[in-house]
Symmetry: C2
Subunit: 776 residues, 2 copies
């Protein structure tokens, strides 16, 4: 028997013509797997993210609307600050001839739900037979405007097919929503204005952010707009109106628009609730809003990132899906905000930013939209006070960046307790917030990478140098002297299945890199901008630090490849027990291992959660030989569960480097299906930001072969066998290049007024301003 | 076409033999009307109340478990303290051969859900065909133990009928529950003990009450207990286990017990979480628990209150239903707690106590179980500090009892904002907390009524006199001098559709009564217990007050019957506009009027929400002639919407007094169907405590004709035409009388060792100790 959950519910090939590889379609309604589509089809504009829960409610839905940067901490030891779930404005409860419209009742004669990536619009068409046998056609659409970031627009068209329709709609604003039971809002004023606009105010309990939610409705019957009978209804944290239009004739279509807006006191242009209302009051209707929204997507997104893959339709869709979510998750409007590990698509990871931003997502922006990349790095700069506090609390110096980061001054916000330990029956302690320290070097790395790609001297002078120095100040204070060398003990590396390890290779190398870069730029500024250096010196005591950097960096222990060329992941990893991981690698469920072992036990085995040594080999690629890379791949990959969505993209890029196109492509295939694939559970708490950034990296850095090494641009494409062409844009020192790779040719169009130097397949070339270079 | 909601879903006649008129049965599953059965079938033991939400979850369910007295106030201006919704322990998510058990899916071949009042046990039997065509029988039972007040016991038996069954159960403790979006708990420790007992701790945010929730499971296959494969799972505010037993053969029955316990630091015997765990660990299995529970109901409830009605089966069921809920809603174990206006069956009225307790519910206990009545009055005594504070805040003296009352020291807890004003679009201000002041006299009245019925001198000396005096101190300070008399302006009377009225008759008469009783008992104590009077005098300055009582009481304006014998409800009522209320009286929905008028408009019309002058005529019945009563009935009843559940019972009793048996019975029929009837919406936020107390009053005080007037017991039955017999117990001055009324005879059995004096149908008689008196 084929069970519901076995059916491939998502289709990728419904788009044709202009919409070819732009549509993702859910082809059957399943009340058990709502979370998948809520997250994967979520709508967003960087200001807010809206899970695609349906207009009608189901018991297993998780409705969610998250406004970037509006963090709040609930009462209690177990809480950390998180993005609160704003009031729900998408519910529209329909009663059709006395019967509740609900897909669990009656019969679904036709159904699909489609995310149109091109227009960033969600639609749902249903032919429904009610329990009593009446038939209706319903067509729902909605979008979250990229043009007016406060606006959610919805429309539903209903056509009764069997007989005339007496319709009742109950719709409004519901502030009873929580974050898995945690209520972040004090209830505020409810109000109906002019029998038209409903308002719900709410105020976060601790961070005192004001939220103003508005919604209004418009009814159209066969092109005529009208006002139906309506009754206002206020309940706790809730304002709804019941609309009861006159009877709709059989085969006529009634259309209902619901336009909603959310404004908060975190908005840079916030004045007060009344000005927000005044702004909302001028918002036009669905179709007008949609035109502006669609134009914004065309102009700002798809023309900005014209990434094309030919040969495999799914892959073209996947890269568009990545760009779609990279756009929706990124608060490009405000440098006080960063990207959550689940974007704005769910409660997972509480909206916190991790190293995921710098190592997995930022390369997309650094390469494709440097302005946004700069803002994201400015966020880290603005977060320095919290990082300094964290360092001081741990008896270190400089800026020790939090493992998880929320609002600027929050500092460390990683929760302390996690999932159940199956052996002891107690919650597992999460050590990352205490000892996963490599993020401080990862941020420095991203700053440098941004600088090398963009040459943005203004950024460096205002923010970049200080970030490089402040992080290096941390590292010198962090190093521990051990006879003739320095080391870093008691950390968690990228492999979070190993806690309290000594000399994690990734951490030590990255710290060393960070110190060396600080020394380099100290020397440089001493020559080129002594005034700036002086200013920074007085703030960070750089003279003293410079001496310590020099002394300690050269003596920092960097684990070297052993006789088999394997770099020890940490001091003890290679001496631990090895078990056969095949059953867990094949399990459909991430974390399958922990149904049989607890973390203490896994700590004692050669089991790696995700790329650890491998990410080192990728980031600092020119410090290791191809032989070392191959040996480490062969050693570590079989011991790696890829239990983090960050893992496979890195492995794919390395496989490309190692010349194994098939392996690279097979890793990409898995990586690109983490959210977009048929696993109906893994995305419930939200899409995987880093994985989505990783998809882009595999395409551009892996198959496209784009690299920056020592400040120079390299291009060495490795097109997968199945692909016939790949096109993508990159920025280099302010110049925009459009790169087009086929089986036979590489075409590089320089659209800027400057010549660009790069190394193409090992040969240095220069692409002149406003020309196209073609290599056959 | 017959719609779902039109069907008479509840049946009352399914019980036969021993269970005749003991069962209420829901005969069809309707996902739209879950709230009705959740509340009306709710289980309770006075310590906690559990809404009867199903084991599997539905989108329109409202799960609820309320522990008496555990009030907490959330942050924000709009919040008042309320009974928090404890963690849900009743969920049991079943997957049968890979399909989720959900009645909205597949086909229901047979279904009923039954509340057995006698055993206070809820059961549900289902024959279900899954979407893929497999058939199963499921039988669920549960109860909230009257023997061990912390315990909820559940059992489910599952029999696969088509093929072998692979079962998955996901079950545990879910603390993500809120009160309509408000989260009252800080998250506490989660823990699994011995792979068996799951624990979830939680702590109220403001009142700092610790909650410990425990649950455990037991599996039996064809009488053999076994431990299935299980996996623990912790999430935020949630601890669950997935159980996966070996395959169950076709036609075999697997039984799963889930035993849960809740303990809080408000418990008098609370020590800490560990002692609570130790206590929970000793709890026996379902069947053993059930024997003790059943015995407690037989002995403590049904033998204590053997109320019998013969002639109309529904009425017998209705009075048992009343006793069932009066038991479940009343925290008889702790005099620091009172009865919520919705008992413990829902969030409605936030668990607060109103005058509903003293005027509508307390007579049942005063008459039938004086020990509990005393405890409920002790609650008011212990609440005096909050009442004194309220008086002081309003520039009055003495004890001004809060309109809504929660924990002892809370004082006034009435929310300030209510439903939407349909004209202005703003929330309506609730004035009751400010100016509905009659409750202070109502409490004094109940104290006196209790004293008269019981002769409990100990209570009077410890609490009663002080309550009478403290309330009278308030009233003398409240009276306003107006030339030659005193008056009370700017109040809300029982008719809450009239705000800011002057000289509400009920309020003035009751205040006057309160003052007169204080004078009376002052005089009495001066003679009989001067030491006590002295102690109370020094506390309440009674010498001064006594003089003021005497002066002001005699001059307090008491609205007199006009030329048509109508007592003006207040100074302006009779001059207001009269409209035809027929459409609103016939509307199925309470509050139908407010879909067309706002409260300001209703304020200007002769429209009464509920018994106002009528309740005065009932409580102080011997101050008014039958002619005045009749004239006022005829005037006010047509203007009364009975929009409060308190209204009809009072009207029925008055109709009995006025000799209109048919009208009395017709009012009773409506009153007894407020919760128990077929209206599938009106009980959603909880059953109506006062209405349920009112049902008992109609039966015993109305049809049974039991009255206490001036300290004497009167009996004057008015059996409805359809009834052939009525039996009920009452206590009088510590003696228990069992009264049995038929068409022809009245039989009174005195089971005590004291003679009892009473006036039977106008004749004074004496019933000798341990004898039965029969009047043919």
């Amino acid at each position: 028997m084929l069970l519901k959950n076995d059916i491939q519910a998502l289709k990728y090939d419904k788009g044709t013509g202009e919409l070819n590889n732009w549509l993702i379609t859910e082809t059957r309604f399943n009340p058990e797997t709502l979370g998948k589509v809520e997250a994967v089809f979520s709508l967003g504009n960087g200001y807010m993210g809206l899970r695609s829960a349906t207009e009608e409610r189901y018991s297993k839905e998780v409705r969610g609307n998250f406004v970037a940067g509006t963090f709040n901490k609930f009462l209690g030891d177990k809480e950390v600050t998180e993005l609160p779930n704003a009031a729900d404005m998408t519910e529209m409860a329909l009663t059709l001839n006395g019967e509740t419209f609900q897909l669990t009742d009656g019969e679904i004669l036709d159904f699909d739900r489609t995310l149109n990536l091109k227009d960033a619009e969600l639609s749902r068409q249903i032919h429904w037979r009610s329990p009593s046998g009446d038939e209706y056609k319903l067509f729902f659409t909605r979008f979250v405007s990229l043009d007016n970031k406060h606006i959610i627009a919805q429309k539903v068209a209903i056509t009764p097919l069997s007989r005339d329709l007496t319709l009742k709609l109950n719709s409004g604003i519901n502030g009873q929503i929580t974050n898995t039971g945690t209520q972040h809002f004090k209830e505020g004023v409810l109000r109906l204005y002019d029998q038209k606009i409903m308002k719900l105010e709410a105020h976060t309990t601790e961070s005192n952010i004001d939220f103003a939610h508005f919604t209004r409705h418009e009814f159209t019957l066969e092109n005529d707009t009208f006002t139906p009978k309506n009754t206002i209804f206020m309940d706790r944290r809730k304002i709804f109106t019941t609309f009861e239009p006159e009877t709709i004739k059989k085969n006529e279509t009634i259309t209902i628009e619901k336009i909603s807006g959310v404004y908060t006191s975190r908005d840079r242009d916030w004045e007060n609730v009344d000005t927000a209302l005044a702004s909302f009051a001028t918002v036009p209707n669905y179709d007008t809003l949609f035109q502006a929204h669609r134009k914004a997507w065309r102009t700002n997104i798809w023309e900005q990132y014209p990434i094309q893959i030919e040969g495999v339709d799914f892959d073209q869709l996947a890269i568009r899906f990545a760009v779609y979510h990279l756009t929706g998750m990124t608060p490009a409007h405000d440098n006080r905000m960063n990207i959550g590990a689940k974007g704005l698509s769910g409660e997972g990871y509480k909206g916190h930013a991790f190293w995921d931003t710098e190592i997995f997502v930022l390369p997309f922006f650094t390469t494709s939209n440097p302005k946004i990349a700069r803002q994201l790095l400015e966020y880290r700069f603005l977060s320095i006070p919290g990082a300094v506090r964290k360092a001081a609390e741990n008896n270190y110096e400089g800026a020790m960046f939090p493992w998880e980061s929320a609002w600027l001054e929050d500092g460390e916000v990683t929760p302390v307790w996690g999932a159940a330990d199956i052996i002891t029956g107690e919650p597992t302690k999460i050590w990352s917030g205490f000892i996963e320290q490599h993020i401080t070097a990862d941020i420095a790395f991203a700053v440098w990478q941004y600088y090398q790609f963009t040459g943005d001297q203004d950024f460096m002078e205002k923010h970049g140098y200080e970030l490089l120095f402040a992080t290096a100040v941390f590292w010198q204070s962090r190093l521990e002297e051990n006879s003739d060398h320095y080391e870093i003990t008691g950390v968690v590396g990228p492999d979070e299945y190993k806690e309290h390890v000594d000399n994690n290779a990734f951490t030590n190398y990255m710290a060393h890199w960070n110190l060396e870069k600080a020394i380099h730029y100290y020397d440089l500024l001493l020559q080129e901008n002594p005034a700036l250096l002086e200013a920074l010196s007085s703030k960070w005591d750089l003279r003293t630090n410079y001496r310590k950097w020099q002394e300690k960096s050269s003596k920092l222990y960097l684990p070297q490849p052993n006789s088999e060329l394997v770099i020890p992941q940490d001091d003890t990893y290679l001496s631990k027990k090895i078990i056969d991981l095949t059953p867990y690698k094949e399990a459909s469920q991430v974390g399958a291992l922990f149904l049989e072992y607890n973390l203490d036990q896994v700590n004692d085995m050669q089991i790696t959660k995700q790329a650890d040594v491998m990410i080192l080999l990728y980031l600092l690629e020119n410090e290791f030989s191809p032989e070392v890379k191959q040996a480490n791949w062969d050693y570590y990959e079989p011991k790696t569960l890829h239990d983090s969505s960050l893992s496979r993209a890195t492995h794919s890029i390395l496989a490309s480097d190692l010349g194994d196109k098939e392996l690279a492509y097979s890793m990409f295939e898995k990586a690109s299906r983490i959210d977009l694939g048929q696993n109906m559970k893994s995305s419930d708490p939200g899409i995987h930001s880093a994985s989505i950034g990783g998809i882009w990296q595999v395409v551009v850095n892996g198959f496209g072969g784009v690299r920056m090494l020592d400040g120079k641009l390299y291009l060495h494409p490795h097109l997968p066998e199945k692909w016939t062409a790949l096109q993508f844009p990159i920025y280099w020192k302010g110049s925009r290049l459009l790169i087009n790779v086929t089986k036979d040719t590489i075409k590089i169009t320089n659209t800027s007024n400057n010549d660009v130097q790069l190394t193409l397949n090992g040969t240095e070339i220069s692409i002149l301003a406003n020309t196209t270079f073609t290599n056959n």
